[in-house]
């Protein structure tokens, strides 16, 4: 081996310097990307608080919209309406989505039907929300001859299904095969193994998927325009038009009145905060009862 001149750094030292430099560079780049991703979120939240917080008062949460020109009024009916529609959508969308995901992951491996469902779900995920609104309009609203909360719920449920189905399938696929074998080896029937072992082990990921789908449809306006329609008054009937926060924000935002613009900002703030609260509550609830050392 040749000896290197004494006054020059050894090649390994140069490599170490270069590796450390590269390490720092990549770290800085990842931090920058994180900031870049978070910046719009923070900006939106700050701007909403700046524009909307001043219009928030008790009346906003307890009163229904006031006629034009009259001061005050609130979005109580829209908040409740959004809750009703989202509850309907979740009741329909989450069970169907999870069931379809279970079929894809546990029973349909390699079957033609499963491939067809997977393809359909991916296509459905890409359908523009306005198209979903029009489809439900012609399927339900036209047939019933009136707009309804139910139609709005169905539209949002269909939008939730593909996300939930695909996340459920992916999360079930991460459950180790050894755990399934352990259950089958104990004489546990397949259906029971799927429900009590696979699904339970995958549940944190599946809950995240459901939350993502929920948060996504909670702010949807387009599918509701043709289905739930909106309502300036209280309505608790599922077969009547119902108010919803995104719809009310939409109506107020395109109106010519400053007072209504301010209420639209306040409504947007309330919508975002309510989604955040819902997601946080589910997380806390889902994390309860997790044992020490369970990964």
């Amino acid at each position: 081996m040749n000896k290197l001149p004494m006054n020059q750094p050894k090649p390994s030292a140069i490599n170490t310097l270069r590796r450390q430099g590269m390490n720092h560079l990549v770290t800085v780049l990842s931090v920058l990307s994180t900031i870049l991703v978070l910046a719009p979120l923070v900006a939106i939240l700050v701007y909403l608080i700046y524009k909307g917080a001043s219009s928030l008062n008790l009346a906003f949460f307890t009163h229904i919209p006031a006629p034009v020109g009259e001061p005050g009024g609130g979005m109580a009916n829209s908040i409740v309406g959004s809750g009703v529609i989202l509850l309907l959508a979740s009741l329909m969308g989450i069970p169907i989505g999870i069931a379809a995901g279970i079929y894809l992951a546990e029973f349909g491996r390699g079957r033609l039907l499963a491939n067809a469902i997977r393809f359909t779900a991916d296509v459905l995920n890409g359908v523009p929300s306005i198209v979903m609104g029009i489809s439900i309009y012609s399927l339900i609203v036209m047939r019933q001859k009136h707009f309804s909360a139910l139609a709005g719920g169905v539209a949002l449920a269909i939008m939730m299904v593909p996300t939930i189905t695909r996340t459920t399938e992916e999360m079930l696929a991460t459950v180790p095969h050894a755990i399934r074998e352990a259950a089958l080896g104990l004489g546990v029937p397949k259906w029971r193994t799927v429900l009590s072992i696979s699904l339970r082990t995958a549940s944190p990921g599946i809950i995240t998927g459901c939350m993502l789908a929920f948060a996504r449809v909670a702010g949807e306006t387009a599918p509701l325009l043709f289905t739930a329609l909106g309502n300036q008054f209280w309505s608790f009937k599922l077969n009547e038009p119902i108010a919803a926060l995104p719809l009310q924000i939409y109506v107020y935002a395109i109106s010519p009145y400053d007072e209504w613009h301010r209420l639209a900002w306040a409504g947007s703030l309330v919508l975002i905060v309510m989604i955040m609260i819902a997601v946080t509550l589910v997380r806390i609830f889902a994390n309860r009862g997790v044992l020490k050392g369970a990964s």
């Binding site: 491996r109 180790p176 050894a178 755990i179 074998e181 352990a182 259950a183 089958l184 080896g185 104990l186 004489g187 546990v188 029937p189 029971r192 193994t193 009590s196 072992i197 339970r200 082990t201 549940s203 997790v290 044992l291 020490k292 050392g293 369970a294 990964s295």
Partner: protein, 252 residues
């Protein structure tokens, strides 16, 4: 109490691969029987045929007759019933990660709809004592996840889980190969104690282990059972040249 197992003309396939060819042997009740042989020789497939785990793989199939006591494994009962009578311990510890130690051990009963608290408590305690784990875990049975135990403890918990459903036969597929020497010797002690009550079939790569725990040993090679005899005979005076080559370390 354990039952004897009579295997006649057992053949098994994965897709087009003929993994077991014309296996015939008798596994006596309440003894430990070791199966040795190089990787891929079919010994794991063989034990998976005994509790019909083999057929959970869609491309796998098997023909032949396996009798456990009076029961014809492939004719008289469903796979689910067979697996309740034939417990299995796998190569790597596979605790249910979302369950406590207690629930892991009780899972075989609970998942089959058994709910009586008092009997569940008794069964969990008995099984953990049988698996020599009770003293180490009795204080946080319901607080700690089964996955938080060390590897050796997890494997003993998995043995307790298999024993909790009160099987007649216990299949062990290289139960100590992922464990350190101390845990391994604990598992071997266990097998020694358990074989008075259960029929034990243990697959192992470790020939000393086979010699230590088993009365009978079978040598598998390329899907065939080359030789089956008392462990003493296999290791001191094998009939077949291939057995001798394997146990003396000339191949495998």
């Amino acid at each position: 109490m354990g039952v004897g197992i009579q295997v006649e003309n057992l053949n098994a396939w994965y897709g087009n691969t003929h993994t077991l060819q014309d296996i015939n042997l008798h596994i006596p009740a309440n003894h430990a029987t070791a199966l040795i042989g190089p990787s891929g020789c079919g010994k794991s497939t063989f034990v998976r045929c005994l509790n019909r785990m083999h057929e959970t793989n869609p491309i796998a199939r098997a023909t032949g007759t396996i009798r456990m006591g009076d029961l014809d494994v492939y004719k008289d009962a469903s796979p689910v019933e067979i697996r309740r009578r034939v417990g299995m311990v796998f190569q790597r510890p596979n605790p249910f990660p979302t369950m406590s130690i207690y629930d892991n051990v009780a899972s075989g009963l609970k998942l089959n709809g058994f709910r009586n608290r008092r009997i569940l408590d008794e069964t969990v305690e008995r099984s953990l004592k049988q698996a020599a784990l009770w003293e180490e875990v009795k204080d946080d049975l319901k607080k700690k996840s089964g996955a938080s135990l060390s590897g050796g403890q997890q494997q003993r918990m998995c043995i307790a889980r298999a024993l909790a459903v009160d099987p007649e036969v216990l299949l062990m597929d290289e139960p100590a190969s992922a464990l350190d020497p101390v845990s391994t010797s604990k598992i071997e002690d266990l097998i020694f104690q358990l074989k008075s009550q259960y029929t034990i079939v243990i697959v192992t790569h470790n020939m000393q282990q086979a010699a230590r725990v088993a009365e009978n040993t079978g040598f598998f090679l390329n899907g065939k059972l080359v030789e089956f005899d008392s462990t003493h005979k296999i290791f001191t005076n094998p009939r077949d040249k291939r057995t001798e080559d394997y146990i003396t370390g000339r191949f495998g």
